[in-house]
């Protein structure tokens, strides 16, 4: 990623993958008031949501890293703190995205 225009476009493209995963999740949350673990398992580990979630986990890493870079470089003007904040957020996002991908990729339905 060499320039801001690329980042701008990538941020928008990845957002489409993210919304196509997380909006269904929010709607599921909304319409399933007494959701038990098994309801969530059936939903999140259905093949459709696994595919959307796998793509979302990759999109999430890219989208969040660009987003936090934009915010941190706007507000934190002391190099050391800026780098420290960015490193922290890059780390938790990278680990979270990787774990999310592995979980969705590898787990069975857990329902027998």
């Amino acid at each position: 990623m060499d320039n801001g225009v690329d980042a701008w476009l990538v941020q928008r493209v990845t957002s489409l993958f993210l919304v196509s995963y997380f909006l269904p999740v929010l709607i599921f949350w909304a319409i399933t008031p007494v959701a038990l673990v098994d309801h969530w398992r059936l939903f999140l580990l259905s093949s459709e949501m696994r595919v959307l979630g796998g793509m979302a986990s990759v999109a999430l890493l890219i989208h969040a890293c660009i987003g936090i870079w934009v915010v941190a470089t706007d507000y934190i003007h002391i190099d050391f703190y800026q780098q420290a904040a960015l490193s922290f957020f890059y780390l938790i996002t990278t680990v979270s995205s990787a774990v999310m991908l592995v979980l969705l990729w590898s787990s069975g339905t857990g329902l027998g």
Binding site: S15, L26, A30, R41, L45, F89, T93, S96, M100, L103
Partner: protein, 130 residues
Amino acid sequence: MVLLKKNHDVRPVFLNLFKIHLPVTALTSILHRITGVVMMLALPILILLLYGVAYDASMLRVVSALPQWLLLVSEFGVVVAFMYHILAGLRHLFHDFTGSHSLGSTVISSWVVLSLWLVWCFFAIIRLMI
């Protein structure tokens, strides 16, 4: 910002946050940023919950041992942050790809985003009361 001020920069600094008028479009924008950062901080916890759902339900029992009010407040915070970020993000896409950048249209879309979000917040409270 003040720390970076050069000697030759003599512009006045006015940082009384209570007296600066925040336009609705600026409010929409700053909330988009805040919710983005909040979601990143919540992400590891959400992945932990996903692990609980996918592999090990005992993880969820540990979580549910936390105080009820804390769980409700966290759940509320996460669902309203996600929904806000999605709505404000769709607003961005709308303005970026329709070429509509007038002040009037951005003010209207800000109010649309904030209104829809408040409806969602209200709904989320009811949903959590059930």
